[in-house]
């Protein structure tokens, strides 16, 4: 039966079928198709247990986390090896580097914590990671830089009192690392809230709301430079909205969601479209048509050289069939 299924087809109809109707031709093909993408991703796993972005031997923490999420259900052995790799890669102070061989902590700590949050074990690793995240902040959090941005340097419009998380220590807060940090801390503190963590989460949420673009959505950081509004980015908007999923639906969130819905219909890039689906699904917006489009773009996955992108696409295509890695249940 499997031999006659045209694996690698780009027919989007195969992704619109209902998986509950088991063993129909469509669902079988869908499963085969997924398993091809999964197999492609699994075949690229490094001996260390991690994944690089592309064809190198240097594992990336981002690619590893996303790949482990994507394979957790179907290929637990691969995911298990990546879990061990992640645990070995954690620094003593609780943070993770951006990639194997790097010696500085980075935003990938938030992504790693998201991954470990889905497990019952490794409490110590999660505890240390959350502690590091609570302490980490953008450089503008320092009183001197806040004062400078409030008084002397007004070319970039933002409220420096509302700061989030940087990509790496020593730089300012940016939208994506802040959003992932908020998600990670919200997930971690579902049953484990403290005044300190709640305060830090609130500050991160306020930072995101402060940096939103005028017409909805988020750019990489500030929304206005030299008086000119910056355009929103789909990926940053999707991840920021994931961080705000349990917040009150303010006008900023509503406008951003509307912007993303409209934008997603025209996106032909796998990475951005996958993040749109992961976000819109959480907000209970229809995503089947987007999944169909994504399936067409992904094909059997072999042409997607970036493993983080392939993993994100697998996660997006499986929305509704597995626990959403970035859902916040508070």
């Amino acid at each position: 039966m499997l031999g006659v299924v045209p694996v690698g087809t780009r027919d989007p109809r195969w992704f619109a079928v209902d998986l509950d109707v088991s063993y129909t031709k469509g669902s079988l093909c869908l499963m085969v198709h997924f398993s091809v993408s999964n197999t492609v991703l699994a075949s690229r796993q490094l001996v260390s247990g991690g994944w690089s972005f592309a064809s190198s031997q240097q594992a990336s923490i981002e690619a590893t986390c996303l790949a482990a999420f994507a394979l957790a259900d179907e290929m637990p052995a691969n995911a298990g090896a990546s879990t061990q790799f992640l645990l070995k890669s954690q620094f003593a102070d609780g943070c993770w580097p951006a990639f194997e061989g790097d010696s500085e902590g980075s935003w990938t700590t938030a992504l790693s914590l998201c991954y470990l949050n889905g497990m019952t074990d490794f409490a110590s690793a999660r505890e240390k990671a959350s502690h590091w995240l609570v302490e980490e902040r953008g450089r503008e959090a320092h009183w001197f830089w806040r004062w400078k941005f409030k008084t002397a340097d007004r070319n970039v419009s933002f409220d420096p009192d509302k700061y989030g998380w940087p990509w790496i220590s020593g730089s300012a807060s940016w939208v994506i690392p802040t959003a992932f940090s908020v998600i990670a801390l919200k997930q971690f503190t579902v049953c484990n809230r403290s005044e300190l963590s709640e305060k830090r989460i609130r500050l991160g949420v306020d930072m995101l709301l402060d940096r939103a673009c005028a017409g909805g959505g988020w750019n990489s950081g500030n929304s206005i430079v030299y008086g000119v509004p910056l355009p929103a980015h789909a990926e940053a908007t999707a991840i920021a909205l994931l961080a705000l999923q349990d917040e009150e639906r303010t006008s900023v969130i509503r406008a951003s969601l509307a912007w993303l819905k409209q934008k997603s219909a025209a996106i032909e890039s796998v990475e951005s479209l996958a993040w749109c689906i992961l976000c819109l699904f959480v907000y209970q917006e229809p995503v089947d048509h987007l999944k169909a489009g994504l399936a067409t773009l992904v094909g059997d996955g072999r042409d997607i050289r970036n493993n983080a992108t392939l993993a994100t696409a697998i996660l997006a295509l499986r929305c509704g069939e597995m626990i959403h890695p970035f859902v916040v249940l508070r």
């Binding site: 990639f99 790496i168 030299y226 355009p231 940053a236 990475e271 970036n306 983080a308």
Partner: protein
């Protein structure tokens, strides 16, 4: 004595530059020098983007008698955002350059870029319409934001960073061609071949944008990066350039030129002059003129057309009005 703001800033820049030269003499901040007795620059006239660009560029490149046999060439265009307008180096120019270098004997041509703001590189490549230009000759595009990295000690110490992680694709290339879009820049004044090298700094380590570089000084980081990864050749896309609030939100300015050069400082100085700006007042050009290449017009040999300043200089943000060259 009346001193207006522009003259004051110009004088201050002159004094600072003089002091800098003196300090650099005693305590040099760079351990390398790429200056040669003479640099060569050619200005090619092109009124529009089309398949004719390849023939024009080939004629221009032949003027330099490049020996590319067996060499691995990296084209580093300026691909920043999926925005309309002259934000990115035009794909016609990139594709033409790739084909020209293959015709000139290069063993391999790779196009590499690490966009600074947009994390989804694929989106930027799509917006630039680059793929059709590369597919026919099987030229690979490498996302420098996510390439394998190696830790590299910097060969200059302007920024104080000491070292950077840089992409293997860049470090393994024999011949690096910086292909900027000629634009004004709201933090650096201009973005030309030297500033374009910010794009080799990997986002996977330094983020989107590469904000650490801003905190350590844009001009200083440009100098350190270009000292460490020398640019061998420049092809600057100035057919449609950008003025005003560049590099993303400026306005299109038809310049009708492609500038090609074997020296990035000479190339950028020429571009600045074509923009009606004084290269001596651009900090990283002024400092780079001491070791990255030739800034002085006397040491720049024009192959063909001479530099003619525009009737109207490129508009710049008020903070950068001091860059505008005095009219003769």
């Amino acid at each position: 004595m009346n001193i207006d703001r522009r003259r004051f800033v110009g004088s201050a820049a002159g004094i600072t530059a003089t002091t800098g030269v003196a300090a650099d003499w005693f305590w040099p901040k760079h351990s390398v020098s790429y200056q040669r007795p003479r640099s060569f620059v050619a200005i090619l006239n092109a009124t529009e983007y089309s398949e004719k660009v390849e023939a024009l560029l080939m004629d221009g490149l032949r003027l330099f008698r490049l020996n590319l046999n067996g060499r691995r060439v990296l084209l580093k265009p300026n691909l920043v955002e999926d925005l309309p307008g002259p934000v990115n180096t035009n794909a016609d120019v990139i594709g033409a350059a790739a084909r020209c270098f293959l015709r000139l004997g290069a063993a391999k041509v790779v196009v590499g870029e690490g966009p600074g703001h947009q994390r989804d590189t694929e989106l930027v490549v799509q917006a630039a319409n680059l793929k059709p230009h590369l597919a026919d000759r099987r030229i690979h595009f490498v996302d420098l934001n996510r390439d394998e990295l190696a830790r590299v000690e910097l060969k200059a110490s302007y920024s104080g960073l000491g070292e950077l992680w840089l992409p293997r694709t860049v470090l393994d290339s024999d011949f690096i061609v910086s292909m900027p879009k000629v634009k004004t820049h709201h933090w650096a004044g201009v973005t030309l071949s030297l500033k374009n090298m910010f794009g080799i700094v990997p986002g996977m380590k330094y983020g989107w944008p590469k904000n650490l570089l801003h905190w350590h000084g844009i001009h200083e980081c440009i100098l350190d990066i270009c000292a460490t990864v020398p640019i061998h050749f420049v092809i600057a896309d100035g057919i449609t350039a950008m003025e005003g609030n560049g590099p993303l939100q400026g306005t299109a300015r038809d310049l009708g030129k492609i500038v090609v050069a074997d020296d990035p400082v000479a190339a950028d100085a020429t571009c600045a002059r074509l923009m009606g700006l004084d290269p001596l007042r651009v900090q990283h050009l002024s400092d780079g003129g001491r070791f990255l290449g030739n800034l002085n017009a006397n040491r720049i040999m024009m192959l063909g057309e001479r530099v003619e300043p525009p009737a109207r200089p490129f508009s710049v943000l008020p903070d950068f009005e001091y860059l505008i060259a005095p009219t003769r």
